[in-house]
């Protein structure tokens, strides 16, 4: 059987998720033993239009990028969204909170904002533009989770992604709750799978893996009430990675 062909593409993002793939180091070479990477601009000069699996990093902010993404979808049998920018829009969606994108452009580019090459639209996640077969969550992704998902696909299995919140992993790590330190932590409503990396380092969860499928809104409300906070306090944190993301806890 021919080796499946993999191509990696990037849109608006920091390319940090590709870096996590690079950081797998020797493990990439093992992967190369069972698959052919035919295009990966950040790491290789080779280019190709023929691939079975397309891995997409970044979010979509321009019409030309939306068209390019649709072309890629047309070529690929399987499409994987890589990282928060692709799965939920990530920090790029903060811009969508400003109704007037002309004003956003002027804020950064001043008098030059009208130039055609600076055009931008509302940020969309890859999942909002084309059908996505698998999501690798996180900002950045966890390299090991990525390797697990790709390995599963190559073996014809369906990868299992946690459908419980970060609190589960955080408790298992024996961490004190971030809320006890007056931190507005999104652990109760955000999808696990990161090993509660941030709270384990003393930092609040800011929601980069997106909401868990059925967030326990009531539990989140209890926590907010217990610490004397308002829905608004929670909203200001949820907006960092979760702007205009569904479902929202406060609607």
């Amino acid at each position: 059987m021919a080796k499946p062909k993999i191509a990696i593409f990037d849109f608006a993002c920091c390319e940090g998720c590709q870096l996590q793939i690079v950081n797998l180091e020797e493990e990439i070479l093992d992967l190369l033993g069972v698959a052919d990477v035919v295009e990966w601009r950040e790491a290789m000069s080779e280019k190709s239009d023929e691939y079975d699996i397309a891995i997409i990093e970044g979010s979509i902010t321009r019409m030309e990028d939306e068209e390019r993404l649709k072309r890629i979808r047309g070529c690929a049998k399987v499409l994987i969204a890589l990282g928060a920018c692709a799965t939920i829009g990530g920090v790029n969606k903060l811009k969508n909170n400003f109704e007037d994108l002309e004003e956003v452009k002027k804020c950064v580019y001043g008098k030059a904002a009208h130039k055609p090459h600076l055009h931008t639209g509302m940020t969309k996640a890859v999942t909002e533009v084309v059908q996505v077969d698998y999501c690798v969550h996180g900002c950045p992704i966890d390299g090991k989770e990525f390797a697990y998902i790709v390995r599963s696909l190559l073996l014809g299995k369906t990868p299992e992604i946690p459908e419980y919140p970060v609190c589960v992993e955080c408790k298992a790590n024996g961490n004190p709750c971030q809320w006890q330190y007056d931190q507005v932590c999104l652990g109760p409503i955000i999808r696990a799978g990161c090993g509660a990396r941030c709270p384990s380092n003393g930092f609040r969860c800011f929601g980069c893996r997106g909401y868990v499928d059925n967030p326990n809104v009531e539990a989140a409300r209890d926590v907010i009430n217990r610490y004397g906070l308002s829905i608004d306090d929670l909203k200001t944190k949820m907006v960092l990675f979760g702007s205009r993301q569904e479902p929202t806890i406060y609607e």
Partner: protein, 436 residues
């Protein structure tokens, strides 16, 4: 002068971070168009952080760049602290510097080993290089992994730090962890030297091209240190230094039609930042082994061959390892103490600067009384290099126009790569377009 007609269009140059194009059109030896274009989708970070709390700024702006996220986080944290009047402790400041050094090693090894080396060996990527030179590639992988694990120990993870907070850190390493790290750093010095030897063996493939320009970097005088994290702004064209808060009088940013990223100029029509700029301003402050490695390559202060930026990166990789071994000694001698951070931010506006691996980086923020961000401005190293890349291309192409097209193309791509551009930072960039 040649009568060649050459059309090169490198659309989205590979093996760089982000998107950029190189366009070369020459008809009958007359150059019609030479352009370094940056078509990266802009992301508008300066607009997006408005309204966000001072404690969330670092989390947002670290996402400007996946490769230099620690530099962005540190520049932002310094700027936030300067603007809001929050003091940082000596211990936290030292640990942050140690974290910063880890990113220099990580980024330089990645750039020289994975992105530049294939050109020197005449290969399209590092993948075929594995078969051709398994030993050196393995050494490079080992160094890259060490740098990553070092970042992870101090920043909580490799990319996008989660231990930085205004005023200090959320977590500090143990003395045992620092001693282990120090041991690994000592052990990696021979490996770095081995990588330097391998690069030296193919350094003849670095094009011989020179163009005098202005080099801008941080300079630290108290105590004199090869500056990555502290200090003021210095230039090879200017005596004395400029305060970080006055960085706008240095960068003089403007918007070019060629680019979604902004461009910069100071005393000349362009200036350069990065490893070579730091070297040209501070070389005498390098660690002993780093100085020896520079000598090995014949790299001396005043070098104006942009391709030698990669050599300066190797020199710096050695320096940060030696400087870190010393810094860990200082931390261990003083003993690590847990620190609780109580902050009360004030309204204010200020800047912060660090040397990202690819050059000096400025962040500036203004906060209201509640600590919410009112405005932001960032000036990214690659933006400061764009005009300089353009001027290099304008001098280089006429000099090499008689060479075969694929050679011209390769030299142009290598030129852009040498700057280690980080186009997602500056927005994104790179393609070579030849028109025949």
């Amino acid at each position: 002068m040649s009568n060649r007609t050459v059309n090169i269009n490198v659309h989205h140059i590979t093996r760089v971070e982000g998107h950029g194009n190189i366009v070369v059109n020459a008809t009958n030896g007359k150059i019609e168009k030479l352009q370094w274009q940056v078509p990266e989708a802009p992301r508008f970070f300066e607009a997006m952080v408005r309204g966000r709390s001072y404690e969330d700024i670092q989390t947002i702006v670290s996402r400007i760049c996946g490769i230099c996220s620690i530099s962005h986080s540190l520049a932002a944290t310094k700027a936030v602290e300067n603007a809001t009047g929050i003091q940082v402790t000596e211990q936290a400041d030292r640990i942050r510097l140690l974290m910063h050094y880890s990113e220099q090693l990580q980024s330089h090894v990645l750039h020289v080993g994975y992105l530049v080396a294939p050109d020197l060996f005449g290969m399209p990527s590092v993948v075929p290089l594995v078969a051709a030179a398994p030993g050196p590639v393995k050494t490079i992988i080992g160094l890259h992994r060490l740098a990553n694990e070092w970042s992870e120990l101090l920043a909580g993870r490799i990319t996008h730090p989660v231990t930085l907070r205004p005023g200090g850190l959320t977590k500090i390493p143990t003395e045992k962890q620092l001693r282990e790290l120090q041991e690994r750093l000592r052990n990696c010095l021979p490996n770095l030297k081995a990588v330097a030897d391998v690069v030296l063996s193919v350094a003849g493939n670095l094009p011989k091209f020179e163009r005098p320009t202005e080099y801008v970097s941080l300079k630290q005088t108290d105590p004199p240190t090869y500056a990555f994290y502290h200090g003021e702004i210095a230039s090879t064209d200017y005596q004395g230094t400029v305060a970080v808060n006055d960085w706008k009088s240095v960068a003089n940013e403007y918007v070019s039609d060629q680019s979604t990223a902004k461009w910069a100029k100071w005393h000349r029509e362009s200036y350069a930042v990065g490893a070579l700029a730091r070297f040209n301003n501070n070389a005498e402050l390098l660690s002993p082994t780093a100085q020896a490695v520079a000598k090995m390559f014949g790299l001396t202060k005043g070098c104006c061959n942009p391709y030698f930026n990669s050599v300066a990166q190797i020199v710096e990789a050695v320096h940060v390892v030696e400087a870190s071994i010393e810094l860990i000694d200082v931390l261990l001698t003083r003993g690590l103490k847990p620190e609780t951070v109580a902050v009360s931010p004030k309204a204010g506006k200020a800047s912060g600067a660090v040397e990202a691996p690819r050059g000096i980086l400025f962040h500036e923020y203004e906060f209201d009384r509640k600590g919410n961000c009112m405005s932001a401005d960032m000036c990214i190293p690659t933006n400061q290099n764009h005009a300089n890349i353009q001027k290099d291309i304008e001098k280089l192409v006429p000099e090499i126009l008689d060479e075969p097209e694929d050679k011209i193309r390769l030299k142009l791509e290598m030129l852009v790569r040498a700057y280690d551009p980080c186009v997602s930072c500056s927005t994104h960039m790179l393609d070579v377009e030849f028109v025949k």
